[in-house]
Protein backbone atom coordinates (compact mmCIF):
# COMPACT_ATOMS: atom_id res chain seq x y z
CA UNK A 1 0.00 0.00 0.00
CA UNK A 2 1.37 3.40 -0.98
CA UNK A 3 1.46 6.30 1.45
CA UNK A 4 -1.16 8.25 -0.54
CA UNK A 5 -3.61 5.36 -0.25
CA UNK A 6 -3.61 5.57 3.55
CA UNK A 7 -6.72 6.86 5.28
CA UNK A 8 -6.33 9.76 7.70
CA UNK A 9 -6.64 7.29 10.58
CA UNK A 10 -3.82 5.13 9.15
CA UNK A 11 -1.67 8.20 8.51
CA UNK A 12 -2.20 9.31 12.11
CA UNK A 13 -0.99 5.92 13.38
CA UNK A 14 1.99 5.90 11.03
CA UNK A 15 3.04 9.39 12.10
CA UNK A 16 2.72 8.40 15.74
CA UNK A 17 4.76 5.23 15.07
CA UNK A 18 7.42 7.37 13.33
CA UNK A 19 7.12 5.32 10.11
CA UNK A 20 7.45 8.62 8.25
CA UNK A 21 7.26 12.30 9.11
CA UNK A 22 4.61 14.85 8.29
CA UNK A 23 7.19 16.58 6.07
CA UNK A 24 7.67 13.40 4.02
CA UNK A 25 3.92 12.87 3.81
CA UNK A 26 3.15 16.40 2.65
CA UNK A 27 5.98 16.40 0.12
CA UNK A 28 4.78 13.10 -1.35
CA UNK A 29 1.19 14.31 -1.66
CA UNK A 30 2.20 17.65 -3.19
CA UNK A 31 4.22 15.74 -5.82
CA UNK A 32 1.24 13.51 -6.50
CA UNK A 33 -1.09 16.50 -6.85
CA UNK A 34 1.41 18.15 -9.19
CA UNK A 35 1.55 15.07 -11.43
CA UNK A 36 -2.20 14.48 -11.38
CA UNK A 37 -4.28 15.14 -14.51
CA UNK A 38 -7.59 15.27 -12.65
CA UNK A 39 -7.69 19.11 -12.45
CA UNK A 40 -8.98 18.62 -8.91
CA UNK A 41 -7.17 21.65 -7.45
CA UNK A 42 -7.40 25.35 -8.26
CA UNK A 43 -4.67 26.39 -5.81
CA UNK A 44 -2.09 24.33 -3.93
CA UNK A 45 0.03 25.29 -0.94
CA UNK A 46 3.60 26.03 -1.99
CA UNK A 47 6.17 23.47 -0.90
CA UNK A 48 8.04 25.85 1.39
CA UNK A 49 4.94 26.92 3.32
CA UNK A 50 3.69 23.34 3.48
CA UNK A 51 7.03 22.03 4.72
CA UNK A 52 7.15 24.77 7.36
CA UNK A 53 3.78 23.69 8.76
CA UNK A 54 4.71 20.01 8.54
CA UNK A 55 8.04 20.65 10.27
CA UNK A 56 6.27 22.47 13.11
CA UNK A 57 3.92 19.52 13.45
CA UNK A 58 6.80 17.01 13.50
CA UNK A 59 8.50 19.10 16.19
CA UNK A 60 5.34 19.12 18.33
CA UNK A 61 5.00 15.36 17.95
CA UNK A 62 8.60 14.75 18.99
CA UNK A 63 8.10 16.94 22.07
CA UNK A 64 4.81 15.25 22.96
CA UNK A 65 2.79 18.45 22.45
CA UNK A 66 0.77 17.36 19.43
CA UNK A 67 -2.36 19.47 18.89
CA UNK A 68 -4.63 16.52 18.20
CA UNK A 69 -5.69 13.94 15.65
CA UNK A 70 -5.22 16.21 12.62
CA UNK A 71 -1.81 17.58 13.57
CA UNK A 72 0.38 17.30 10.48
CA UNK A 73 -2.32 15.71 8.30
CA UNK A 74 -3.34 17.17 4.94
CA UNK A 75 -6.92 18.30 4.22
CA UNK A 76 -8.21 19.64 0.91
CA UNK A 77 -10.82 22.39 0.98
CA UNK A 78 -13.43 23.34 -1.61
CA UNK A 79 -12.57 26.70 -3.12
CA UNK A 80 -15.71 28.43 -1.87
CA UNK A 81 -14.48 28.20 1.74
CA UNK A 82 -12.40 31.22 2.70
CA UNK A 83 -8.73 30.81 3.54
CA UNK A 84 -6.34 33.62 4.29
CA UNK A 85 -3.37 31.60 3.01
CA UNK A 86 -4.73 30.65 -0.41
CA UNK A 87 -7.04 32.51 -2.82
CA UNK A 88 -10.78 31.71 -2.75
CA UNK A 89 -12.18 31.78 -6.28
CA UNK A 90 -15.48 29.93 -5.92
CA UNK A 91 -14.65 28.57 -9.36
CA UNK A 92 -15.47 31.97 -10.87
CA UNK A 93 -13.58 34.39 -13.07
CA UNK A 94 -15.02 37.25 -11.00
CA UNK A 95 -13.13 36.04 -7.91
CA UNK A 96 -10.10 34.54 -9.65
CA UNK A 97 -7.64 36.71 -7.67
CA UNK A 98 -9.62 37.08 -4.44
CA UNK A 99 -7.69 36.37 -1.26
CA UNK A 100 -9.90 36.42 1.80
CA UNK A 101 -8.67 38.57 4.70
CA UNK A 102 -9.83 35.89 7.13
CA UNK A 103 -10.21 32.14 7.55
CA UNK A 104 -13.61 30.45 7.61
CA UNK A 105 -14.65 28.98 10.96
CA UNK A 106 -13.92 25.45 9.75
CA UNK A 107 -10.42 26.48 8.64
CA UNK A 108 -9.74 28.08 12.04
CA UNK A 109 -10.74 24.81 13.69
CA UNK A 110 -8.52 22.73 11.39
CA UNK A 111 -5.55 25.03 12.01
CA UNK A 112 -6.11 24.93 15.77
CA UNK A 113 -5.61 21.17 15.50
CA UNK A 114 -2.48 21.53 13.40
CA UNK A 115 -4.20 20.30 10.23
CA UNK A 116 -2.60 21.40 6.96
CA UNK A 117 -4.87 22.90 4.29
CA UNK A 118 -2.93 21.49 1.36
CA UNK A 119 -4.99 23.07 -1.40
CA UNK A 120 -8.27 24.47 -2.66
CA UNK A 121 -10.37 22.21 -4.82
CA UNK A 122 -12.19 22.83 -8.09
CA UNK A 123 -15.95 23.32 -8.22
CA UNK A 124 -18.78 24.48 -10.42
CA UNK A 125 -18.88 28.27 -10.39
CA UNK A 126 -20.39 29.41 -7.07
CA UNK A 127 -21.28 25.73 -6.42
CA UNK A 128 -23.99 25.88 -9.10
CA UNK A 129 -23.78 22.65 -11.03
CA UNK A 130 -23.79 18.88 -10.85
CA UNK A 131 -20.76 17.97 -12.93
CA UNK A 132 -17.87 20.34 -12.22
CA UNK A 133 -18.04 21.52 -15.82
CA UNK A 134 -19.23 25.03 -14.96
CA UNK A 135 -15.90 25.93 -13.34
CA UNK A 136 -13.95 28.82 -14.85
CA UNK A 137 -10.87 26.70 -14.18
CA UNK A 138 -11.99 23.84 -16.41
CA UNK A 139 -13.71 20.53 -15.72
CA UNK A 140 -12.47 18.00 -13.18
CA UNK A 141 -11.93 14.40 -14.28
CA UNK A 142 -13.45 11.41 -12.52
CA UNK A 143 -10.64 9.14 -11.26
CA UNK A 144 -12.96 6.10 -11.53
CA UNK A 145 -14.15 6.61 -15.11
CA UNK A 146 -11.88 8.08 -17.81
CA UNK A 147 -13.43 11.07 -19.58
CA UNK A 148 -16.34 11.24 -17.16
CA UNK A 149 -17.40 13.95 -14.76
CA UNK A 150 -16.97 13.28 -11.03
CA UNK A 151 -20.30 14.98 -10.36
CA UNK A 152 -20.61 18.32 -8.63
CA UNK A 153 -20.49 20.85 -7.45
CA UNK A 154 -17.74 19.57 -5.08
CA UNK A 155 -16.06 17.96 -8.10
CA UNK A 156 -12.48 18.66 -7.07
CA UNK A 157 -12.94 17.50 -3.48
CA UNK A 158 -14.51 14.23 -4.63
CA UNK A 159 -11.87 13.60 -7.30
CA UNK A 160 -9.02 14.47 -4.92
CA UNK A 161 -10.24 12.02 -2.26
CA UNK A 162 -11.24 9.26 -4.67
CA UNK A 163 -8.02 9.67 -6.66
CA UNK A 164 -5.94 9.45 -3.44
CA UNK A 165 -4.46 12.94 -3.74
CA UNK A 166 -5.61 13.60 -0.17
CA UNK A 167 -7.23 11.40 2.49
CA UNK A 168 -10.15 13.78 3.12
CA UNK A 169 -11.70 17.01 1.87
CA UNK A 170 -14.28 19.59 2.76
CA UNK A 171 -17.08 20.36 0.34
CA UNK A 172 -20.30 22.29 0.45
CA UNK A 173 -23.76 20.89 -0.14
CA UNK A 174 -26.70 23.09 -1.10
CA UNK A 175 -28.77 20.55 -3.04
CA UNK A 176 -26.53 17.48 -3.11
CA UNK A 177 -23.10 18.90 -3.99
CA UNK A 178 -21.27 16.64 -1.53
CA UNK A 179 -23.43 13.53 -1.78
CA UNK A 180 -23.79 13.33 -5.57
CA UNK A 181 -20.05 13.60 -6.42
CA UNK A 182 -19.26 11.19 -3.57
CA UNK A 183 -21.66 8.73 -5.17
CA UNK A 184 -20.12 9.17 -8.63
CA UNK A 185 -16.56 8.67 -7.38
CA UNK A 186 -17.15 5.77 -4.98
CA UNK A 187 -16.49 7.50 -1.65
CA UNK A 188 -18.49 8.69 1.37
CA UNK A 189 -20.05 12.16 1.42
CA UNK A 190 -21.72 13.61 4.50
CA UNK A 191 -24.13 16.55 4.50
CA UNK A 192 -24.74 17.25 8.18
CA UNK A 193 -27.92 18.69 9.68
CA UNK A 194 -28.57 22.28 8.59
CA UNK A 195 -27.00 24.26 11.44
CA UNK A 196 -24.47 21.64 12.52
CA UNK A 197 -21.41 23.38 11.01
CA UNK A 198 -20.84 27.13 10.96
CA UNK A 199 -20.95 28.67 7.47
CA UNK A 200 -18.87 31.67 8.54
CA UNK A 201 -16.48 32.07 5.62
CA UNK A 202 -18.45 29.94 3.17
CA UNK A 203 -19.23 31.90 0.01
CA UNK A 204 -23.03 32.14 0.06
CA UNK A 205 -25.09 30.57 -2.71
CA UNK A 206 -28.51 29.81 -1.16
CA UNK A 207 -28.26 30.62 2.53
CA UNK A 208 -31.29 28.67 3.74
CA UNK A 209 -29.81 25.52 2.20
CA UNK A 210 -26.00 25.85 2.21
CA UNK A 211 -24.08 23.43 4.42
CA UNK A 212 -20.42 22.49 4.68
CA UNK A 213 -19.92 18.75 4.25
CA UNK A 214 -17.13 16.19 4.33
CA UNK A 215 -15.90 13.73 1.69
CA UNK A 216 -13.76 10.79 2.79
CA UNK A 217 -12.80 7.24 1.98
CA UNK A 218 -13.97 5.91 5.33
CA UNK A 219 -16.34 6.81 8.15
CA UNK A 220 -13.72 7.10 10.90
CA UNK A 221 -11.96 9.90 9.02
CA UNK A 222 -15.23 11.77 8.47
CA UNK A 223 -16.20 11.41 12.13
CA UNK A 224 -12.80 12.70 13.27
CA UNK A 225 -13.07 15.78 11.05
CA UNK A 226 -16.71 16.47 11.92
CA UNK A 227 -15.80 16.41 15.60
CA UNK A 228 -13.36 19.30 15.27
CA UNK A 229 -15.13 21.52 12.73
CA UNK A 230 -18.65 21.27 14.17
CA UNK A 231 -18.13 23.64 17.07
CA UNK A 232 -20.39 26.51 18.15
CA UNK A 233 -19.76 29.80 16.36
CA UNK A 234 -21.52 33.07 17.20
CA UNK A 235 -20.72 34.38 13.72
CA UNK A 236 -23.31 32.11 12.09
CA UNK A 237 -26.75 32.65 13.61
CA UNK A 238 -27.93 29.23 12.43
CA UNK A 239 -25.02 27.34 14.00
CA UNK A 240 -26.13 25.06 16.80
CA UNK A 241 -24.72 25.05 20.29
CA UNK A 242 -25.06 21.25 20.43
CA UNK A 243 -21.79 19.39 20.78
CA UNK A 244 -20.66 17.32 17.81
CA UNK A 245 -20.25 13.58 18.30
CA UNK A 246 -16.83 12.39 19.33
CA UNK A 247 -15.41 9.45 17.44
CA UNK A 248 -14.16 8.08 20.74
CA UNK A 249 -17.82 7.59 21.72
CA UNK A 250 -18.48 5.35 18.73
CA UNK A 251 -19.24 2.05 20.41
CA UNK A 252 -20.25 -1.33 19.04
CA UNK A 253 -23.30 -0.71 16.88
CA UNK A 254 -25.67 -3.07 15.15
CA UNK A 255 -28.36 -2.89 12.49
CA UNK A 256 -30.36 -5.38 14.53
CA UNK A 257 -33.85 -4.00 15.18
CA UNK A 258 -33.34 -0.83 13.11
CA UNK A 259 -35.87 0.17 10.47
CA UNK A 260 -35.10 1.68 7.08
CA UNK A 261 -37.88 3.44 5.18
CA UNK A 262 -37.76 3.03 1.41
CA UNK A 263 -40.04 4.68 -1.16
CA UNK A 264 -40.66 2.08 -3.85
CA UNK A 265 -41.57 4.67 -6.49
CA UNK A 266 -38.06 6.14 -6.26
CA UNK A 267 -36.70 2.99 -7.86
CA UNK A 268 -39.06 3.31 -10.80
CA UNK A 269 -38.58 7.01 -11.53
CA UNK A 270 -38.25 7.68 -15.25
CA UNK A 271 -34.58 8.07 -16.05
CA UNK A 272 -33.19 6.04 -13.16
CA UNK A 273 -30.37 3.79 -14.34
CA UNK A 274 -31.46 0.13 -14.02
CA UNK A 275 -28.14 -0.91 -12.42
CA UNK A 276 -28.55 1.77 -9.75
CA UNK A 277 -32.06 0.59 -8.90
CA UNK A 278 -31.02 -3.07 -8.71
CA UNK A 279 -27.75 -2.56 -6.78
CA UNK A 280 -29.49 -0.27 -4.25
CA UNK A 281 -32.23 -2.83 -3.74
CA UNK A 282 -29.74 -5.68 -3.32
CA UNK A 283 -27.79 -3.63 -0.81
CA UNK A 284 -30.94 -2.86 1.18
CA UNK A 285 -31.92 -6.54 1.06
CA UNK A 286 -28.52 -7.37 2.54
CA UNK A 287 -29.38 -5.34 5.64
CA UNK A 288 -32.04 -7.99 6.41
CA UNK A 289 -29.28 -10.45 7.20
CA UNK A 290 -27.89 -7.89 9.66
CA UNK A 291 -31.23 -7.75 11.47
CA UNK A 292 -32.63 -4.54 9.95
CA UNK A 293 -36.19 -4.20 8.75
CA UNK A 294 -36.90 -2.44 5.46
CA UNK A 295 -40.37 -0.88 5.37
CA UNK A 296 -42.19 0.88 2.58
CA UNK A 297 -42.80 4.59 3.02
CA UNK A 298 -44.29 7.34 0.91
CA UNK A 299 -41.90 10.17 0.26
CA UNK A 300 -42.91 13.41 -1.45
CA UNK A 301 -42.76 13.35 -5.25
CA UNK A 302 -39.14 13.95 -6.29
CA UNK A 303 -40.28 16.21 -9.13
CA UNK A 304 -42.03 18.51 -6.62
CA UNK A 305 -38.91 18.61 -4.45
CA UNK A 306 -36.68 19.37 -7.45
CA UNK A 307 -38.94 22.23 -8.57
CA UNK A 308 -39.15 23.59 -5.01
CA UNK A 309 -35.40 23.45 -4.66
CA UNK A 310 -34.59 25.20 -7.92
CA UNK A 311 -37.10 27.99 -7.28
CA UNK A 312 -35.82 28.68 -3.75
CA UNK A 313 -32.11 28.18 -4.49
CA UNK A 314 -32.21 30.39 -7.59
CA UNK A 315 -34.16 33.10 -5.76
CA UNK A 316 -31.60 33.15 -2.94
CA UNK A 317 -28.72 33.01 -5.41
CA UNK A 318 -30.02 36.04 -7.32
CA UNK A 319 -29.97 37.96 -4.05
CA UNK A 320 -26.66 36.60 -2.70
CA UNK A 321 -24.78 37.14 -5.95
CA UNK A 322 -25.96 40.73 -6.38
CA UNK A 323 -22.82 41.76 -4.50
CA UNK A 324 -20.55 40.67 -7.38
CA UNK A 325 -20.82 43.87 -9.35
CA UNK A 326 -17.22 44.99 -9.67
CA UNK A 327 -17.51 47.51 -6.87
CA UNK A 328 -18.56 45.72 -3.76
CA UNK A 329 -16.91 42.43 -4.71
CA UNK A 330 -14.94 40.92 -7.52
CA UNK A 331 -13.01 41.93 -10.59
CA UNK A 332 -14.16 44.99 -12.49
CA UNK A 333 -14.67 45.27 -16.24
CA UNK A 334 -13.11 48.25 -18.01
CA UNK A 335 -16.05 50.57 -18.65
CA UNK A 336 -16.57 51.01 -22.39
CA UNK A 337 -19.21 51.79 -24.99
CA UNK A 338 -21.39 53.89 -22.72
CA UNK A 339 -24.95 54.22 -23.95
CA UNK A 340 -27.38 57.01 -23.28
CA UNK A 341 -29.90 54.50 -21.92
CA UNK A 342 -28.05 53.51 -18.76
CA UNK A 343 -26.20 55.34 -16.04
CA UNK A 344 -22.43 54.69 -15.97
CA UNK A 345 -22.87 52.79 -12.72
CA UNK A 346 -25.52 50.45 -14.15
CA UNK A 347 -23.35 49.99 -17.23
CA UNK A 348 -20.39 49.09 -15.04
CA UNK A 349 -22.45 46.52 -13.11
CA UNK A 350 -23.80 44.96 -16.29
CA UNK A 351 -20.51 44.88 -18.17
CA UNK A 352 -18.72 43.43 -15.15
CA UNK A 353 -21.28 40.71 -14.54
CA UNK A 354 -21.48 39.96 -18.24
CA UNK A 355 -17.73 39.59 -18.57
CA UNK A 356 -16.96 37.71 -15.39
CA UNK A 357 -19.95 35.49 -14.59
CA UNK A 358 -20.45 32.16 -16.35
CA UNK A 359 -23.46 31.06 -18.35
CA UNK A 360 -25.00 28.78 -15.68
CA UNK A 361 -24.67 31.40 -12.95
CA UNK A 362 -26.35 34.01 -15.17
CA UNK A 363 -29.09 31.52 -16.02
CA UNK A 364 -29.83 30.94 -12.34
CA UNK A 365 -29.70 34.64 -11.48
CA UNK A 366 -32.23 35.30 -14.26
CA UNK A 367 -34.43 32.46 -13.03
CA UNK A 368 -34.19 33.65 -9.43
CA UNK A 369 -35.04 37.21 -10.45
CA UNK A 370 -38.02 35.93 -12.41
CA UNK A 371 -39.52 33.87 -9.57
CA UNK A 372 -39.16 36.84 -7.20
CA UNK A 373 -40.75 39.34 -9.60
CA UNK A 374 -44.01 40.96 -8.65
CA UNK A 375 -46.68 38.97 -10.44
CA UNK A 376 -44.74 35.69 -10.36
CA UNK A 377 -43.55 35.50 -6.74
CA UNK A 378 -46.92 34.21 -5.54
CA UNK A 379 -47.08 31.40 -8.07
CA UNK A 380 -43.43 30.35 -7.80
CA UNK A 381 -41.53 31.56 -4.73
CA UNK A 382 -44.39 31.53 -2.22
CA UNK A 383 -45.68 28.24 -3.60
CA UNK A 384 -42.19 26.77 -3.25
CA UNK A 385 -42.01 27.92 0.38
CA UNK A 386 -45.31 26.12 1.09
CA UNK A 387 -44.04 23.02 -0.70
CA UNK A 388 -40.82 23.13 1.35
CA UNK A 389 -42.76 23.21 4.60
CA UNK A 390 -44.94 20.34 3.44
CA UNK A 391 -41.85 18.28 2.46
CA UNK A 392 -40.22 18.98 5.81
CA UNK A 393 -43.37 17.96 7.71
CA UNK A 394 -43.72 14.73 5.72
CA UNK A 395 -40.10 13.72 6.29
CA UNK A 396 -40.33 14.52 9.99
CA UNK A 397 -43.44 12.35 10.29
CA UNK A 398 -41.72 9.48 8.48
CA UNK A 399 -38.66 9.73 10.72
CA UNK A 400 -40.89 9.36 13.78
CA UNK A 401 -41.76 5.88 12.49
CA UNK A 402 -38.47 4.69 10.99
CA UNK A 403 -34.84 5.13 12.02
CA UNK A 404 -33.52 5.99 8.56
CA UNK A 405 -34.69 6.74 5.07
CA UNK A 406 -32.76 5.28 2.13
CA UNK A 407 -32.78 6.38 -1.51
CA UNK A 408 -30.35 6.11 -4.39
CA UNK A 409 -28.03 9.13 -4.18
CA UNK A 410 -28.12 9.86 -7.89
CA UNK A 411 -30.49 8.50 -10.53
CA UNK A 412 -27.57 8.12 -12.95
CA UNK A 413 -23.92 7.05 -12.67
CA UNK A 414 -20.98 9.23 -13.76
CA UNK A 415 -21.59 10.62 -17.25
CA UNK A 416 -19.19 11.82 -19.94
CA UNK A 417 -17.93 15.39 -19.75
CA UNK A 418 -19.90 17.48 -22.24
CA UNK A 419 -22.90 15.15 -22.28
CA UNK A 420 -25.31 17.39 -20.35
CA UNK A 421 -23.55 20.72 -20.12
CA UNK A 422 -25.81 22.45 -22.65
CA UNK A 423 -29.08 21.08 -21.28
CA UNK A 424 -29.83 22.63 -17.86
CA UNK A 425 -32.89 20.52 -17.09
CA UNK A 426 -31.01 17.26 -17.71
CA UNK A 427 -28.25 18.53 -15.44
CA UNK A 428 -30.73 19.53 -12.71
CA UNK A 429 -32.26 16.05 -12.76
CA UNK A 430 -28.96 14.68 -11.37
CA UNK A 431 -30.08 16.19 -8.03
CA UNK A 432 -33.47 14.46 -8.09
CA UNK A 433 -32.99 12.46 -4.88
CA UNK A 434 -30.72 14.74 -2.88
CA UNK A 435 -32.52 18.11 -2.93
CA UNK A 436 -35.38 16.88 -0.77
CA UNK A 437 -33.19 16.49 2.30
CA UNK A 438 -31.49 19.81 1.68
CA UNK A 439 -34.95 21.38 1.77
CA UNK A 440 -35.85 19.54 4.98
CA UNK A 441 -32.45 20.16 6.63
CA UNK A 442 -31.94 16.52 7.72
CA UNK A 443 -28.46 14.96 7.81
CA UNK A 444 -27.70 12.62 4.91
CA UNK A 445 -24.76 10.54 3.78
CA UNK A 446 -23.93 8.93 0.48
CA UNK A 447 -22.25 5.54 0.80
CA UNK A 448 -20.48 3.54 -1.94
CA UNK A 449 -22.41 0.29 -2.37
CA UNK A 450 -21.35 -1.16 -5.70
CA UNK A 451 -20.84 -0.58 -9.40
CA UNK A 452 -22.76 -0.56 -12.64
CA UNK A 453 -21.95 -3.15 -15.29
CA UNK A 454 -19.63 -0.53 -16.82
CA UNK A 455 -17.82 -0.26 -13.45
CA UNK A 456 -19.12 3.20 -12.54
CA UNK A 457 -19.57 3.64 -8.76
CA UNK A 458 -23.05 3.63 -7.24
CA UNK A 459 -24.03 5.41 -4.03
CA UNK A 460 -26.92 4.92 -1.63
CA UNK A 461 -28.15 7.86 0.39
CA UNK A 462 -29.05 7.31 4.04
CA UNK A 463 -30.97 10.02 5.90
CA UNK A 464 -31.23 10.35 9.67
CA UNK A 465 -32.93 12.47 12.29
CA UNK A 466 -31.90 16.05 13.07
CA UNK A 467 -28.45 16.19 14.71
CA UNK A 468 -28.18 12.37 14.74
CA UNK A 469 -24.91 12.42 12.80
CA UNK A 470 -23.29 9.95 15.18
CA UNK A 471 -26.05 7.44 14.61
CA UNK A 472 -25.98 8.08 10.87
CA UNK A 473 -22.22 7.61 10.64
CA UNK A 474 -22.37 4.40 12.66
CA UNK A 475 -25.15 3.10 10.42
CA UNK A 476 -23.15 3.97 7.30
CA UNK A 477 -20.06 2.31 8.76
CA UNK A 478 -21.96 -0.93 9.27
CA UNK A 479 -23.79 -0.86 5.95
CA UNK A 480 -23.07 -3.73 3.53
CA UNK A 481 -20.47 -2.41 1.09
CA UNK A 482 -18.36 -3.94 -1.66
CA UNK A 483 -15.34 -5.69 -0.26
CA UNK A 484 -16.56 -5.46 3.29
Amino acid sequence: MEIWEYSATQLRQSLDNKEFSSQELIKTLLQRIDQSKLNAFISVLDLENAQEQAYASDERRSKGTSLGFWDGLPIAVKDNICTACLRTTSGSKILKDFVSPYDAHVIEMIKQQGGIVIGKTNLDEFAMGSSGEYSYFGPTQNPCCIGASPGGSSSGSAAAVSGCLVPIALGSDTGGSVRQPASMTGIFGLKPTYGRISRFGLVAFASSLDQIGILGRNIADIAHLLEIIATPDPRDATCTLQKAPSYDDFLAWSWNGKTIGVAENYFHEPGIHPDIASVCKKSLDATHTLGAKVVTIELPEPGIALSTYYVIASAEASSNLARYDGIRYGSQAPLQNLTKDESPLTELYMQTRNLFLGQEVKRRILLGTYVLCEGYARSYYQKAQQARQSIRNQINTILEKVDYIATPTSPIPAFQIGEKVHDPMRMYLCDLFTVMFSLSGHPAISMPIGFTQQNAPIGLQLIGKFFAEKDLLQAADSFPQPGK
Binding site: P234, A237, I365, Q389
Partner: protein
Protein backbone atom coordinates in the same frame (compact mmCIF):
# COMPACT_ATOMS: atom_id res chain seq x y z
CA UNK B 1 -44.03 32.62 -23.74
CA UNK B 2 -41.43 35.01 -22.40
CA UNK B 3 -41.32 38.02 -24.68
CA UNK B 4 -38.16 39.87 -25.69
CA UNK B 5 -39.27 42.87 -23.62
CA UNK B 6 -39.94 40.70 -20.57
CA UNK B 7 -36.50 39.15 -20.88
CA UNK B 8 -34.89 42.56 -21.33
CA UNK B 9 -36.63 43.89 -18.18
CA UNK B 10 -35.65 40.78 -16.24
CA UNK B 11 -32.02 41.08 -17.32
CA UNK B 12 -32.02 44.73 -16.32
CA UNK B 13 -33.30 43.85 -12.85
CA UNK B 14 -30.63 41.15 -12.55
CA UNK B 15 -27.96 43.52 -13.93
CA UNK B 16 -27.09 41.02 -16.60
CA UNK B 17 -26.76 41.82 -20.27
CA UNK B 18 -28.54 39.47 -22.64
CA UNK B 19 -27.49 40.19 -26.20
CA UNK B 20 -29.93 39.89 -29.10
CA UNK B 21 -28.23 36.66 -30.20
CA UNK B 22 -28.62 35.19 -26.70
CA UNK B 23 -32.27 36.25 -26.28
CA UNK B 24 -33.95 33.31 -27.98
CA UNK B 25 -31.76 30.76 -26.19
CA UNK B 26 -32.20 32.41 -22.76
CA UNK B 27 -35.96 32.65 -23.18
CA UNK B 28 -36.11 29.00 -24.25
CA UNK B 29 -34.07 27.90 -21.21
CA UNK B 30 -36.27 29.88 -18.84
CA UNK B 31 -39.48 28.58 -20.38
CA UNK B 32 -38.27 24.99 -20.18
CA UNK B 33 -37.47 25.37 -16.48
CA UNK B 34 -40.68 27.21 -15.65
CA UNK B 35 -42.64 24.53 -17.47
CA UNK B 36 -41.07 21.87 -15.24
CA UNK B 37 -41.74 23.97 -12.14
CA UNK B 38 -45.38 24.16 -13.21
CA UNK B 39 -46.00 21.05 -11.10
CA UNK B 40 -45.92 23.36 -8.08
CA UNK B 41 -48.95 25.23 -9.32
CA UNK B 42 -50.85 22.01 -9.93
CA UNK B 43 -50.33 20.82 -6.34
CA UNK B 44 -52.08 22.27 -3.32
CA UNK B 45 -50.16 22.60 -0.09
CA UNK B 46 -51.40 23.46 3.38
CA UNK B 47 -51.01 27.14 4.11
CA UNK B 48 -48.97 27.24 7.25
CA UNK B 49 -46.26 29.39 8.71
CA UNK B 50 -42.88 28.12 7.53
CA UNK B 51 -40.63 26.85 10.32
CA UNK B 52 -37.67 25.52 8.38
CA UNK B 53 -35.26 26.15 11.22
CA UNK B 54 -37.27 24.94 14.21
CA UNK B 55 -34.76 22.13 14.79
CA UNK B 56 -32.13 24.70 15.71
CA UNK B 57 -31.90 25.55 19.36
CA UNK B 58 -32.92 29.10 20.13
CA UNK B 59 -29.96 31.38 20.71
CA UNK B 60 -30.01 34.30 23.09
CA UNK B 61 -29.91 37.67 21.39
CA UNK B 62 -26.75 38.95 23.05
CA UNK B 63 -24.26 41.33 21.52
CA UNK B 64 -20.81 39.74 21.41
CA UNK B 65 -17.56 41.44 20.55
CA UNK B 66 -16.53 39.14 17.73
CA UNK B 67 -13.40 41.01 16.85
CA UNK B 68 -11.58 42.03 20.03
CA UNK B 69 -8.47 42.70 17.92
CA UNK B 70 -9.87 45.08 15.34
CA UNK B 71 -6.40 46.05 14.22
CA UNK B 72 -6.07 42.51 12.82
CA UNK B 73 -8.93 43.21 10.46
CA UNK B 74 -7.57 46.52 9.20
CA UNK B 75 -4.08 45.16 8.62
CA UNK B 76 -5.05 43.85 5.17
CA UNK B 77 -6.51 47.13 3.99
CA UNK B 78 -4.35 49.31 1.79
CA UNK B 79 -5.77 52.52 3.31
CA UNK B 80 -7.89 53.05 6.43
CA UNK B 81 -9.40 56.07 8.14
CA UNK B 82 -11.28 56.08 11.46
CA UNK B 83 -11.89 52.31 11.41
CA UNK B 84 -13.15 52.40 7.80
CA UNK B 85 -11.57 50.95 4.69
CA UNK B 86 -10.71 53.66 2.22
CA UNK B 87 -11.24 52.60 -1.37
CA UNK B 88 -10.21 54.48 -4.50
CA UNK B 89 -12.74 56.49 -6.40
CA UNK B 90 -14.12 54.37 -9.17
CA UNK B 91 -16.39 56.52 -11.25
CA UNK B 92 -16.04 60.10 -12.29
CA UNK B 93 -19.17 62.23 -12.31
Amino acid sequence: MISAKELHDLAYLAKIRVTEEQQAHSAQDLEMMLQYFGCLQKTSFQLEQPNFFSHLLGRKDIAIDLYPNQSQIWKNAVHTKDSYFVVPKILEK
